[in-house]
């Protein structure tokens, strides 16, 4: 599969949302509302102003309402940019065991992929990779 290098990859990034807010660090500039964290410092926007990442509850791989909303916008952006392929990177929790988080992050990335498919995006345009607790993005 060929990836377009010019475009920012879609990232599907974990990080415990409200469930862990008490012991979670580094949430200084963002706001947590509903079940999604939004931080101006970190959350990247795609060309069209669509968020590039969605979040999951700790140890969960189910899409939240806010995640589904973001993914729908990503899907419509992808429909407009038909020549672009994307990589969905799954990430797990830094505060978790390595092997379980590889599995969890894979499941999360696939949950996002499946959702994009239901909005008419071809599976050929999406590839998925799990990083578990490797290469975590700092929020």
């Amino acid at each position: 599969m060929k990836f377009n290098k010019k475009i920012t990859n879609l990232l599907i990034i974990l990080i415990s949302t409200l469930a862990l807010s008490a012991c979670s660090t580094a949430k200084k500039t963002g706001t947590a509302s509903g079940d999604v964290y939004t931080g101006k410092d970190t959350v990247q926007f795609l060309a069209s102003g669509v968020k590039d990442r969605v979040f999951f509850a700790t140890n969960k791989s189910a899409l939240t309402t806010a995640s589904r909303d973001t993914l729908r916008k990503q899907a419509s952006w992808m429909r407009k940019n038909k020549k672009l392929n994307v990589v969905l990177e799954g990430h797990g929790d830094e505060r978790g065991t390595r092997e379980y988080n590889l599995a969890l992050a894979e499941k999360r990335a696939n949950a996002a992929r499946d959702y994009l498919l239901t909005y008419g995006i071809s599976g050929k345009r999406i590839s998925v990779i799990s990083y578990g607790k490797e290469k975590l993005q700092r929020l």
Partner: protein, 445 residues
């Protein structure tokens, strides 16, 4: 009258101890390590030199490797050599036990070496100082480059004689070497002797590698590599350096381990995002699926007889430990305490399963019996996981990460070991930061 009898009884008891051979009980924590004198090996004056090491020093080097091994157990207290009165050659022939008992030594190790015509001959003896007796005497002939291994083998023999358990000094540890800032870690497979010596790097760091594990003969390693951004289980022949991908799976494979007979690799395969446990026979390439569940099944580990498998699953909602028969039937959940359980590994003795537990924001390394009873947490820390058993099932090696500040500052990852008694927690020396350790079996069997 009663009093006199009492004293007499005690005297009798004492006497019987004085003449029994020394034994170290390692089934409980030893707060009073046994004082041992490890005399430098006497070097036969006819010996040649070995490379840049003077043969005279080789005798001291070998005894210092033995001494370091013994100190690391926490069960023995090697005495300061400055206090030794008897010369190594005379002590090796016939120790003057009074001299050694004066410095409180209860056991004495003596030895002799001869290096001639590219052959290294080493003799050693273990003496019970209180009983004035020789406990073992052994001799080895090998190539001079093997001197470290001989030191480890000697350590194992002495350990075995004194504790009644198999030793673990002539072993290696494979791990992931980590360098660079936390956000851009470079990870390589590395292998070293159990005491931190002889480190060798097996991959170049071009791609992410994780979770290496030895096969039973310690010649092959199975691990996860992100080669070409395709996370797959690989097989590496340590001697030839040849790597090959395991199987032809259309998705991520991970969490690999060998079966106890070395014929199969057991691992997770994530099909459409769902991880189940599979085995692949390395000869026939036959793939078998063992779990069938929509939840995560990973971290499989065989019992030493190959009849059972323990693994990690969140089918109950959260990460817990399960066991099943090796054909995938008879699945039982065995962890029921508070918190999450991960990384189960079956002890080489078959009696225990070691695990990582996460509870209240803390990470624990613990052991439980194979039916889940008798859970004992051995050590608590900010972050630690992935225990691996010493081949005698008495120790665990695992890795521990420190809390980091902004941009990953202050972050370290190190290898640690602990006795399953909960005593003798210690950091292992590694050249770089390190994670995902896996202990080999004994190299000399």
């Amino acid at each position: 009258m009663k009093k006199i009898f009492y004293i007499f009884a005690i005297l009798l008891f004492k006497t019987s101890i004085a003449y029994s051979l020394i034994e170290v009980d390692i089934t409980r924590g030893n707060l009073d390590p046994l004082p041992v004198a490890i005399s430098p090996l006497h070097v036969d004056p006819q010996s040649d030199n070995y490379q840049d090491i003077k043969t005279k020093e080789l005798g001291e080097l070998i005894s210092s490797v033995v001494e370091k091994n013994f100190r690391s157990t926490g069960l023995f207290n090697p005495l300061n050599k400055d206090a030794f009165v008897q010369k190594p050659d005379i002590a090796h022939l016939k120790p003057r036990f009074e001299d050694w008992s004066l410095i409180t030594a209860q056991a004495l190790v003596t030895g002799k070496l001869l290096l001639k015509d590219e052959k290294l001959k080493i003799e050693f003896r273990l003496w019970d100082v209180a009983a004035n007796k020789e406990m073992i005497a052994l001799a080895f002939t090998t190539t001079p480059s093997n001197w470290r291994r001989v030191a480890h083998i000697i350590s194992d023999k002495i350990y075995e004689r004194l504790t009644g358990e198999t030793g673990y000094f002539d072993t290696r540890i494979i791990y992931v070497s980590e360098t660079g800032p936390k956000t851009q870690r470079v990870k390589k497979l590395a292998i070293m002797d159990q005491d931190g010596e002889n480190t060798k790097y097996l991959t170049l760091g071009n791609e992410l590698v994780l979770t290496p594990r030895f096969n039973p003969t310690n010649q092959l390693v199975t691990y996860l590599s992100y080669f070409r951004n395709l996370p797959r289980v690989y097989l590496l022949d340590i001697e030839t350096g040849i790597q090959e991908v395991v199987g032809n799976f259309p998705g991520m494979t991970f969490a690999p381990r060998f079966s106890p007979d070395g014929k199969k690799i057991i691992m997770s395969f994530a099909k459409d995002g769902n991880s189940d446990i599979y085995t692949m026979n390395l000869e026939s390439r036959l793939v078998e699926k063992l779990t069938e569940d929509s939840s995560i099944d990973t971290s499989p580990s065989y019992s030493p007889d190959g009849k059972y498998i323990c693994f990690n699953s969140d089918r109950s909602g959260l990460q817990q430990i399960y066991t099943m028969k090796s054909d995938g039937t008879d699945v039982k959940r065995i962890s029921f305490g508070d918190g999450l359980y991960g990384t189960p590994v079956w002890s080489p003795r078959g009696d225990l399963i070691a695990f990582t537990k996460v509870k209240g924001g803390k990470f624990y390394i613990g052991v439980m019996r194979v039916d889940g009873s008798g859970e004992r947490l051995l050590t608590e820390n900010f972050y630690q996981e992935a225990p691996s058993w010493s081949p005698n099932g008495r120790l665990l090696v695992f890795y521990r990460e420190t809390k980091s500040g902004k941009n990953g500052k202050g972050f370290t990852a190190k290898l640690w070991s602990i006795d399953i008694t909960g005593y003798n927690e210690r950091e292992l020396e590694t050249e770089t930061d390190a994670s995902d350790p896996s202990w080999s079996s004994l190299l000399s069997k």
